[in-house]
Symmetry: C2
Subunit: 215 residues, 2 copies
Amino acid sequence: MTGPAPRSPRRTEALSRERIVEATIELLDTAGETDLTVRALTAHLSTGRGAIYHHVTSKDDLLSAATDGVIGRMLTQIAADEDPERAIRALSLGIFNVIDAHPWAGRQLAREPWQPAVVQIWKGVGAQLTRLGITGSARSDAGSALVNYVLGAAAQYAAGARRAPDEAARQVYLETIAAEWAPDDLDPTPSFEHDDREQFLAGVDIFLAGITARR
Amino acid sequence: MTGPAPRSPRRTEALSRERIVEATIELLDTAGETDLTVRALTAHLSTGRGAIYHHVTSKDDLLSAATDGVIGRMLTQIAADEDPERAIRALSLGIFNVIDAHPWAGRQLAREPWQPAVVQIWKGVGAQLTRLGITGSARSDAGSALVNYVLGAAAQYAAGARRAPDEAARQVYLETIAAEWAPDDLDPTPSFEHDDREQFLAGVDIFLAGITARR
DNA sequence: ACCTGAACACCGTTCAAGT
DNA sequence: ACCTGAACACCGTTCAAGT
């Protein structure tokens, strides 16, 4: 008797939730959000259409999991900081950088408050606010202000980064905003050429100043 | 010879962009976002499928126009206030109330920065910040902070108001957040039973305090 | 248990043909 | 010019049948 026949190596890795989420992130980064279809995903994984529904409940579950993946990776990388204000800036900047690299995650974050990535962000913010000595309703007010700002900015910058399917609409937008915001502005460089990252962090600082002022 | 034959009154009103947008708002409010299809809309307007494409470029254009409709209606109703801080609170509360009545608008606002409703909000905020005596890059930083907060909060509250297609996920979310935020909280009423509207306005005040503190 | 892929029940958008 | 509705080119999800 010979040994067992070698397994036919149809796939390098067995199908699993992790493998599927990983492939989803790859596809979102390379092909974009509109081209992420279940069909494209199954082709990428060389499997059948309904196979992924053994590991994932829906396409929305897939988007949530992919977003949680890239946010979670970032959270493990930011260093613990003894200064809670610096820790809040680091967390916010980390989220901005994730959105910059993965615009689809920015759009997803603004969609469902109960998705894992958003819950992780709430936890991180809550912990730092506690370390700032903020308690009671002041803490939940501050937390919701910061989280909502970060998620709102994430979605807006992500949409901006997408460069618009309608480039003409984007131009009209930039010109309208510039006309409204520039007239009494003597600064020769219009505000909307400012670095998005700097403007985002300035918003975090406004928020931190507001919390300190009310403490 | 008799006079001209009476026109067959197939529709009460002729088809127009305004009529289509109006019907879209009605359908979004009654049937919900997922049930707003071009087919349902044409049935509601008793017209042909492609007819609406004579007045509207795409479904996205329709969502933007509907959102601009409900935001624009609100903007004409809020009174001009001589105190710019009070005007900012009134504008923010107006947006909150629109989202509360039309959750679909909250989700739409966070999607595209160049849509008319968002441009209108930028204009309103910019005008009040100027009246607060804020100029230059401080003004664009403050504007983007406030607008991004309002839009982020709008999207989150809108998703929360939708009560979740997945009620179980919503429960897990509320419990996780409560567990993270409640432990050192002596207040017997957990923060997440707080009135959303109050919490939203507290966030606006935090940003206003931050802007004032940095002036 | 895990996977397949045809089938189902839809979509948004276009366009030749009508009035 | 405006409108019609069949046709087009897709979707996400399910499920009987396989291994």
